[in-house]
Subunit: 210 residues, 2 copies
């Protein structure tokens, strides 16, 4: 798979709506929670996408430089804010004006697009996990992630080893094991077997996360 025309300007034929807008340092381009009606391109300067965590810390997801696109979302709202790092200009592309959206029947490439955006959000979520959480918070987030994927939300079957989990969360096996033990002692989970967990307090697990 070799993708061409990355970052090129002239070759891009989707047309912009709205003027090229200018932003001063630290000025917000859009807010977390705003309706995600458009994606944007950095014309000049640098833009950061970030979000605030519950503990007051801030997680910077990415820095976007000239020619790069940002603002892709799966849901109806932005999951992060975008802010100018330095004096910057951006141009926006509204989904409703793109030919991509005009067909009611989704083409193969559109479906593919959805999947890749989904992967992108997953990767961003993974980065958030790795970036700023303690071991127990990482484990809690990991369990919630698999709870979401399960039919029975409170019963999680781990198909992977502790080593797999450790390598995914940037921890060691020992810390994974200790954190699970900790959560068990705190009454948030129960062990049916090492690989079969009952989440007895999902709310508390989610609260450990952002």
């Amino acid at each position: 798979m070799i993708l061409r025309a990355l970052k090129s300007h002239s070759a891009e034929s989707f047309h912009a709506i709205g003027p090229v807008r200018h932003f001063e340092p630290n000025q917000r381009i859009y807010f977390e929670g705003d309706p995600a009606e458009m994606f944007l391109k950095v014309v000049s300067g640098v833009v950061r996408t970030c979000r605030m965590l519950s503990d007051g810390r801030r997680q910077v997801d990415a820095f976007h430089t000239e020619g790069e696109l940002f603002g892709f979302e799966i849901g109806p709202a932005y999951s992060m804010s975008a802010e100018a790092v330095c004096s910057s200009t951006v141009v926006s592309y509204h989904w409703r004006n793109l030919e991509v959206r005009e067909t009611t029947e989704r083409s193969p490439s559109e479906q593919l697009f959805s999947h890749v955006v989904f992967s992108l959000m997953r990767a961003q979520e993974h980065a958030r996990l790795l970036g700023s959480l303690s071991a127990i918070e990482k484990i809690a987030a990991f369990l919630v992630e698999w709870s979401d994927r399960s039919a029975d939300k409170s019963l999680v079957t781990l198909v992977m080893t502790r080593q797999d989990i450790a390598d995914y969360l940037g921890l060691t096996v020992e810390t994974v094991s200790r954190s699970l033990t900790q959560l068990r002692q705190d009454g948030l989970i129960e062990f049916l077997s090492p690989r079969q967990l009952r989440l007895t307090d999902i709310t508390a697990l989610q609260a450990l996360n952002s």
Copy 2:
């Protein structure tokens, strides 16, 4: 932006090439470095994408479950390996057989697709950064990243604050500052001003990374 049909099976009309293949636990589906001629979908089971780091540690990039697609790349080769976590079946889609690739002139949606795959790779790289590196290695990788983006590779202008860098790397301002000082004392960088750095030994900086 609301994307529909995610994870649906019946609605997807890009056609598979090759049979549905079955894999035993820990069996490789493709290797890091293999030509990235296809992307794949998990039909059943769980697949992990991961790579080995220079220090011998393994970084798990993601777990993919039923209905999810994986194996998207920008370059000609896979940047990670894919392995079955448990007994799994996958189906593959070869780029050369997809209508998406048939037009020599790239449509707007294709260009968009390239950009999102690019963002995905960036996010994966970010996760790798956060996952398993020490503070100094994170800073070194960060500097190399901005060196790559600069016209003059050895002269990096940081448009962002130390706090921005800290929030991006999952560190504190103090640690960012100390790490930069360390690199300066080790003779890998020079400070022209707090925001203007000269990378006097890019090779060594890259070596600190994986």
